[in-house]
């Protein structure tokens, strides 16, 4: 009766170290950086402060594109003091924007910290603007605010908003598959070819490349997540009847195979056919990773929180590259969605959720990792302290999913070592 309950050690996946100090993580607005390129007729209008506008351009490396498909409606003193009707002001900004960019078909109003704190009702604004400019322009809204979302959660909220726009399955619809989570077009095309070869279909991708190409959704829809940060979007799709297929994420040979297998099993694909179709890709992925294994084998890796991709990256490095994982920091741990990843990791792997950056830096310095995966605010200072670092943002912006990218993924982690090996200059 009184036998001690065996508790998992502090910091494991079952009981992560939870921290709420300074977060050195981007807010959800920054996911606009890839969303605005992924969906080609959409425009993202942040309703926020000068800080939001400054964040967008600074986070984008100060202007990747001469004119991006996002902008900020900067709230000013007059709006806050009630001297101007903030909704009227927003309508004026939207008029100006649509006059300038008449090709916009989907205008997404993105809430920010200040707009959330003053409780600016963007749902109401989207309805009203839809009445004025619809049906030529469709309006959506979601929050990418830093008081509610980190980095990739902005995409989650955007997809959740998009789910409300999805048409319902027609009566008697056959089983279909939605792959959710923005992937590079090239990766999307590779997956589509594999699904076709397996005879799985119809398959649609969310977000689609064009706002008019929204997939159907309903009880016959199966849902495969291409990204681990889609908690809200998944809930929204499940409410529409879709069923989530649990799987690890498609990183590395093992993850990609398990991910494809989840769909193949659901769609009743013959195991021999599955083996035949995926075989060449698996071989290529293994060979490509193998080339980098001599560098990565035995390396000790420390992850700072950034994108929620950390558990999947850690699993890839541990299983396929022979790395030791010192800490998996993640801004948010969706236990259910990453359960299959942790099943492949050692049970006592140290996990921290949220952040207190100075304490985490203390742990990192004490652990003396061979490689630190961290955000851009920390990378140079850590390099200056003598640590090898990898920008986590590259893991989000580089196509890394699927068989053909497994080698590229390994190479991203090899590069910091290769660089140190080559450089013959002392700091």
């Amino acid at each position: 009766m009184n036998a001690p309950v065996s508790l998992p050690p502090l910091g494991s996946a079952a009981k992560p170290l939870r921290e709420r100090g300074q977060h050195e993580v981007f807010c959800g607005l920054t996911s606009i950086m890839w969303l605005h390129r992924k969906m080609q007729d959409a425009f993202f209008l942040v309703v926020g402060s000068r800080t939001c506008a400054h964040l967008m351009q600074s986070a984008a490396g100060v202007m990747i594109f001469a004119e991006p498909r996002f902008a900020t409606a900067i709230i000013d003193e007059r709006d806050l003091a009630g001297l101007a009707d903030i909704h009227e002001e927003l309508d004026k900004v939207v008029d100006k924007l649509l006059a300038r960019r008449p090709e916009i078909r989907l205008l997404v109003l993105v809430g920010s910290c200040p707009s959330e704190v003053i409780k600016l009702d963007l749902a109401k604004a989207a309805d009203r603007l839809g009445g004025i400019h619809g049906p030529a322009v469709r309006f959506l809204h979601y929050s990418g605010s830093g008081i509610e979302t980190t980095f990739t959660q902005g995409e989650d909220n955007f997809l959740a908003a998009l789910v409300h726009e999805l048409p319902s399955e027609p009566a008697g619809a056959a089983k279909s598959l939605i792959v959710a989570g923005a992937l590079a077009d090239v990766v999307e095309d590779q997956f589509r070819r594999i699904f076709d070869a397996l005879g799985i279909g119809p398959v649609t991708f969310l977000p689609p490349r064009n706002s008019a190409a929204l997939p159907h959704i309903g009880p016959q829809t199966r849902l495969l997540l291409a990204q681990p940060f889609l908690g809200e979007a998944t809930k929204a799709m499940e409410r529409r009847g879709a069923r989530h297929l649990a799987a690890p994420f498609p990183l590395g040979e093992e993850g990609t195979t398990a991910w494809l297998l989840a769909a193949a099993t659901e769609f009743g694909v013959d195991p021999e056919r599955f083996a035949a179709i995926t075989g060449p890709g698996r071989t290529r992925a293994r060979m490509a990773v193998e080339k980098h294994r001599s560098v990565l084998d035995g390396k000790r890796i420390f992850f700072f929180p950034d994108s929620q991709l950390e558990p999947s990256m850690a699993r890839f490095l541990y299983r396929e590259a022979g790395c030791e994982i010192l800490e998996i920091g993640t801004p948010f741990l969706h236990r259910h969605h990453v359960a299959d990843e942790f099943a492949l990791l050692p049970p006592d792997v140290f996990v921290s959720e949220g952040q207190d950056v100075d304490r985490q830096l203390d742990r990192c310095r004490a652990a003396r990792p061979d490689l630190v995966v961290c955000g851009m605010g920390l990378a140079n200072p850590l390099e200056a302290e003598g640590m090898a670092t990898k920008w986590s943002i590259e893991l989000v912006f580089t196509p890394v999913q699927g068989y053909e990218q497994a080698g590229d993924l390994a190479e991203l982690f090899v590069r910091p070592f290769a660089r140190r090996e080559k450089l013959r200059v002392r700091v």
Binding site: R20, H54, V62, T72, A73, I74, E77, A99, C113, P381
Partner: protein, 519 residues
């Protein structure tokens, strides 16, 4: 509410961060939500600093709003002071925290810390980055170089000065300090304190020991210098030594304040005057240049462009509204309409309308110029990582003029190159399609009539009109004009044709227009 794609200045708390990051021993505790920590990478990535800026953010979240965000601030502040042991702490709020009205100043005071606490009130919805930096520096100077009990007396001239204004993330401030310190010392004048960049609070206490202040960058140090003048009787030299003429005027003013005989060192150390006179520079004559940036750099650029390089200034503007008056008078001197705006789309329209051959601007104008395929040099913040070069490249003093000559002139076609391109335009290797040698590695081979092309694809441009069509022969003749002036020739001809009410443009009209505009 204002629609913006890019912004010239960040919020005022970023200005405060620039001051904190400039100084030693000063820490900034910023009440701010998660996400505002992006500002760190301005320093670690864009400026390539090897340390994080000395800022602790509270990172409050939505779920904290209902409970006690004030407690979060106090905890963060207490822990930051314990961990970093600064000599002084700045406390303030970012835009979101301003809305929840926690009063960081009061909260920090209640902590009863054993170091000085300077509360910052930076209204995010009214003010911007440079104002925030200026206000923060002023607060620090007031606190650590307090006004004497008695009314300040006017200082006697003396051979000791302070240099005020350079900051972290400033456009070439790091190198300007070196150059100006050397220049001042070569006159036999000692530099007492350089602030804020590289100073600590003990240095600020020494400020009153100098006979006068040199205000290198009035956007940051103007307010503090005025306060020092009123309270410590220290006069200021406010001439910005950018360009040969300005550097000479600066030296004369510094010498006067130091009680030295006026120096007469025309062009000493600068190659710009000779390079400008050299025969290869004749192609610079009358090149139309559009200038936009912070007030200090834009005004200096206009003077250099017009008087030291022989360009024609066809546009001059700034986003520094605080210096609108100074910019207006500089624009009047150049005979152009001043452009005072923080809307980069408005600047883009002005560039299209002005049809410059060179743009001197910020990172935004570099992008506009790139799209319009107009050569461009960056002269002011906001900037990109590549505007923090590894090499020594000041803008101020004599070496600054050398750097400026090179960096403004190199984007232009060189003298003989321009003529040869006109002469051998049909040569298979040396033709329209071949970009100028200095652009080749960076410019994709694209369509060569940028100005016109842009004007028709930008609906916001007021200059878009429906032009009369071109006769085939006229169109062919137009193609014989070198590409770098073809856009201008096309637009001028079309403007002329519209004015003349022509229904079709012929070869004759092309040359009539050329004659018309060559007056």
């Amino acid at each position: 509410m204002q629609l913006t794609v890019w912004t010239y200045e960040g919020p005022p708390h970023v200005g405060a961060m620039r001051i904190a990051a400039s100084m030693r021993g000063v820490h900034y505790v910023l009440h701010a939500p998660q996400g505002d920590t992006y500002a760190d990478l301005l320093f670690t990535m864009i400026e390539r600093r090897d340390t994080r800026p000395p800022v602790t953010y509270t990172t409050f979240q939505a779920r904290d709003l209902g409970s006690d965000t004030a407690e979060i601030f106090k905890t963060a502040c207490r822990e930051a002071v314990e961990r970093f042991r600064p000599d002084a702490v700045l406390v303030g709020a970012s835009c979101t925290a301003e809305l929840i009205q926690d009063n960081p100043g009061g909260l920090a005071k209640a902590l009863d810390l054993d170091i000085p606490v300077i509360p910052l009130e930076l209204p995010s919805y009214q003010k911007k980055e440079n104002w925030g930096a200026s206000e923060t520096f002023y607060r620090l100077v007031r606190t650590f170089a307090p006004a004497p009990a008695a009314r300040a007396e006017t200082r006697a001239p003396g051979r000791i000065c302070n240099i005020l204004g350079p900051t972290a993330l400033g456009f070439r401030h790091r190198d300007d300090i070196v150059e100006i310190t050397r220049l001042v010392e070569s006159l036999g004048i000692a530099v007492n304190v350089v602030a804020p960049l590289g100073a600590d609070i003990a240095d600020l206490a020494l400020l009153p020991e100098a006979a006068f202040n040199i205000v290198l960058y009035p956007e940051i140090a103007g307010v503090a210098a005025d306060w020092l003048a009123r309270n410590h009787g220290q006069p200021s030299v406010t001439i910005t030594p950018i360009g040969v003429g300005a550097t000479e005027t600066f030296i004369a003013a510094v010498a006067t304040h130091a009680g030295l005989a006026p120096q007469d060192r025309p062009g000493a150390g600068s190659r710009l005057p000779w390079y400008s006179r050299s025969i290869d520079s004749t192609y610079l004559t009358g090149k139309r240049v559009f200038i936009f940036g912070d007030a200090t750099h834009a005004i200096a650029a206009a003077r250099i462009a017009a008087k030291e390089l022989g360009f024609t200034v066809c546009g001059l503007g700034t986003y520094s509204r605080e210096f609108a008056r100074e910019l207006r008078s500089a624009a009047a001197e150049c005979g152009v309409e001043p452009l005072i705006t923080d809307d980069h789309l408005e600047v883009e329209e002005a560039i299209i309308a002005a049809q410059p051959e060179l743009v001197l601007g910020t990172q935004m104008e570099r992008h506009v110029a790139k799209r319009l395929r107009i050569p461009c040099a960056v002269i002011s913040s906001p900037v990109h990582v590549q505007d923090f070069p590894a090499r020594y490249s000041p803008q101020m003093g004599y070496e600054g003029t050398n750097v400026i000559f090179d960096s403004w002139v190199h984007p232009l076609m060189m003298g003989l190159e321009e003529h040869l391109l006109g002469m051998f335009r049909d040569d298979f290797e040396f033709n329209d399609g071949a970009a100028p040698s200095h652009l080749a590695p960076v410019s994709p081979p694209v369509e060569r009539e940028p100005v016109l092309q842009q004007a028709t694809t930008l609906p916001a441009s007021p200059s878009v009109t429906i032009e009369p069509p071109w006769a085939d022969e006229a169109e062919r003749e137009l193609k014989k004009i070198p590409f770098f002036v073809r856009g201008k020739a096309r637009r001028n001809t079309e403007k002329y044709a519209l004015e003349q009410g022509l229904s079709i443009i012929t070869v004759e009209d092309l040359y009539d227009a050329k004659a018309h505009y060559s007056r």
